[in-house]
Symmetry: C2
Subunit: 438 residues, 2 copies
Amino acid sequence: MRLSRYFLPILRETPKEAEVVSHRLMLRAGMIRQEAAGIYALLPLGLRVVEKINRIIREEQNRAGAIELLMPTIQSADLWRESGRYDDYGKEMLRIKDRHERDVLYGPTNEEMITDIFRTYVRSYKDLPLNLYHIQWKFRDEIRPRFGLMRGREFLMKDAYSFDLDQAGAEHSYNKMFVAYLRTFARLGLTAIPMVADTGPIGGNLSHEFIILASTGESEVFCHKDYLTMTAPDAATDFDDKAGLDAIVKRWTSLYAATSEKHDAAAFAALPAEAQVSARGIEVGHIFYFGTKYSAPMKAVVAAPDGSLVPVHGGSYGIGPTRVAAAAIEAGHDEAGIIWPEAIAPFRVGLVNLKPGDAAVDGACAELYARLGAKGVEVLLDDTEERPGAKFAAMDLIGLPWQVIVGPKGLAAGQVELKNRATGARETLSPADVLARF
Amino acid sequence: MRLSRYFLPILRETPKEAEVVSHRLMLRAGMIRQEAAGIYALLPLGLRVVEKINRIIREEQNRAGAIELLMPTIQSADLWRESGRYDDYGKEMLRIKDRHERDVLYGPTNEEMITDIFRTYVRSYKDLPLNLYHIQWKFRDEIRPRFGLMRGREFLMKDAYSFDLDQAGAEHSYNKMFVAYLRTFARLGLTAIPMVADTGPIGGNLSHEFIILASTGESEVFCHKDYLTMTAPDAATDFDDKAGLDAIVKRWTSLYAATSEKHDAAAFAALPAEAQVSARGIEVGHIFYFGTKYSAPMKAVVAAPDGSLVPVHGGSYGIGPTRVAAAAIEAGHDEAGIIWPEAIAPFRVGLVNLKPGDAAVDGACAELYARLGAKGVEVLLDDTEERPGAKFAAMDLIGLPWQVIVGPKGLAAGQVELKNRATGARETLSPADVLARF
C-alpha cells in the first residue's frame, strides 16, 4: 500500500480522553475513532490488525473441529425469557422495541440462540460432538465504557458453543478449546496463561480465563513463573485423542495460576519464592463448561444410545478480537509507539522514501515495493511529502516490525537501512540483501 | 470437509413460509435459519457462500482504489439530526435508547458517519480523491419482511463512500465504482445490467441500479438485448485513466436499460423489436452521486487549491452480499435445487461415497479427498450412512458445480462418475482422470 493513497490519519497530539496506553496509541496511530461512548470505528490500519487476529482464531477453531456459522446481532427477547436470563442480565443488555413493539435485543452473547438452533436440527447422539462458532459484533451497555477497545460497548467476539451427550464428552470438547486457545494466543505472539476463573452470568462449574501479563493490566494475577516459558502444543496435536488432550490440559493447569477473585494466598505462598509471579493481567479469552444450564430449560435434548432423551452438555468459549488488538499493545509498546508481534502487524515492512521526487530514490523504492510484494510481504510505502523526522516518528508509532529506509546519500553508495522496530537494531545493506532477508 | 463432521441440516420438507425459490432452497439446503421476522442466521454452508461473495467484492473495491475500514452498527442519533435524515427516515430506522436514555440507532446506511469521519481528519484537496468502504451489518425495519435474504431486516451491505473536490472528480469516482461493479458481478458469475434509477432516501441526481434478470425478479425491467452478451472490463483496466473509464461507462449506458420507475415506453418501442428485452429483475447493487447533500449541512469542507473552503462532492455505492447470495439462486436453480456459479459455490466438488465401510470405496474417496484438497480444490465428502438416493438428492439440492460419485461396482472396474450439476452431463472415468480435471 502506498501511503499517499491510503487513509492513515496520524494524530500528533495525545488525545486527552485516553486513560490507557493502548487506547492512546490506537487513536494516535489512526487505528480507531470513537463514534459514541464505547463505540469505535476501526480505521483501515486497525481493521487490518483485527482481520489478522480473526484469521488466526479461525484457523485454530477449525483445526480443533469447530464449525463456523454466523448468527445475527439482533435477537428475540423470547429466547432469553426461556433461559431465564432476560431479567437477570440487567441494564448491560441493550433492549429494543421494533416497529411492531416486539421486544428484541442486541446480543451480548449467544448461548440461547445457538441452543435454539441446536434443538431445531439435532436429534441424536450420533450427531455429537458438535461445536459451532461465529465471529460477530456484540453489545454490552457498560455503565462507564472506558479504555478504548479494551472495554467497549460494541465489540467483536469469537464465541464457540459445544454440545455433547454427557459430561465426559463435554470435558473433551472443553479441552479441545483449551488447547486451541493455547495455540491461538501463541500464534498471535502473546503469552497467555490459563487461570481458574469465576463463571459470572454465563454460569457453570468449570472455567478458565486466558490472561496476558502487562504492567497496565486491569486486574491482579498470581502464577508460577514456569508459565512464562511454556511452549504451546504444536500443529500436529490430535484433537480426537482424548487422553493426549487431557495430558496437555493437566500440564497447563497443574501449576499455580489464579486471578485475584480465585486467589489462594496460602497455596501461592507455598511456592518457592523465586517461582512466585505476582503481576497485572488482561483477560483475552474465557472458556466455560456449564452442563445443562441452557439445554434443560430450553429442552435441547438428543436421543441417547439407549433411546432415552437427555439434555445435552454445553460449553462456551470466547475471545474478543478487538480486545486482543488492544491487549497486544498493552503488552508491546515503548515511548515511541506500538511494537506489533509479526503475526498481527498491519504490514510487515514500512518502506520509507526519504526524498520523493528524487528519481533514484523513487526508483529504488518502487522496485523494493514491487519485489517485496511479489514475495508476499505486505509493505506500507511512505511516499508522502512529509519531513524525514515525521516519517520516522510515524513508522515507530504504528509499530511495523521492520523499517526499510531509502535516502539519496545511502543509495549513492548502494545502501539502504534496515531497522528492527522491537530491538531498535539498525543495519546498512544493499537493496538486494534486504530482499534476501524476507 | 467431511459431511459426517459438518453441520449441514438439510430439510426434506418444503418450508411453508417461503414464498420465493431462493428462500425455499436456502432453508432446505441448510444455508440459513430464521431467528425472527427478517432476521437470519447464516448456517455454515450459507456463510461459505457469503464469504466468497465478500472476497470478490473486496478484491474489486481494492482494485478500484477504495480503502476498507469498519464502522460500528450502532450510531448516535445526533449525526442524523445534523444531516436532517433522523426524522425523514421514518419507522424503517431501528431507534434505540441506551441505559443513559441517549438516542442511538442501528445504522441503515452510513453516509452521516463516514462524512463525520471524513471531516475529522481531511483538510485539503491534496488528500482527495478518497473512497472508504466497509462490509457491515445494517438494519432496516421493514414493515413486512419477506423473501428470506432477499429482503431481510438485518442484512449485510458493502457500502463505499467517495469524496472529491468537485463534480468532475466525483464523476470519475462514480465511474470507478461503476466499472468495479461490472467486474464484481461478472466475477460472481452473474449477468448484472446497469439501469438508470431513482435515488430514494439517499438523494442525489445520478444513480444506477445493477439488475440481475430472473423470472422470479421483484420488479419489471426493460433493456436492450445486447446487454446480455456484453463482456465486463478486464483486470488490466486502469482506474486512474479518466477518459478510459468514461468510455467504458458510456458504452454500458448508451443502450436502453431502465427499471419500471424510469421506463420510457416510447424510447423502448423505438428499439428494433428483436432487441427489446422485457423481463423481471432483481436489484443487487445501487450507486449514487449526491454532490454536497451531506457535506454541506455537516460542514465537511476541504481547502481548495485557491485556499477557499469548499464542501466535498460525495457518492455512495452499495452491494448486499446476503442479497446477492439469494439473487444468484433466483437466477440459477432447477427442480432439483441450486445451481451455483463456480466462483461462489460453497464447495467446488461434492464427493459421494456410495458405500461407507467398503474398504476400497473408503480408500478411493480418502485419496481423492486428500489429493483434490492438496490441489486447492474445496471438496465436501459425503461419508455419511445415508441411502444413495438421499445423497444424490442432497448434492443436487446444495448445488455444488461438480459431483464425483464413487461406488463399489464402478471402482472394481477402475471407474468413478463425474457429474456436472449445471448441465447434468455425466462421464465415467478413472480417479486419476478426475484429478487431472481439476
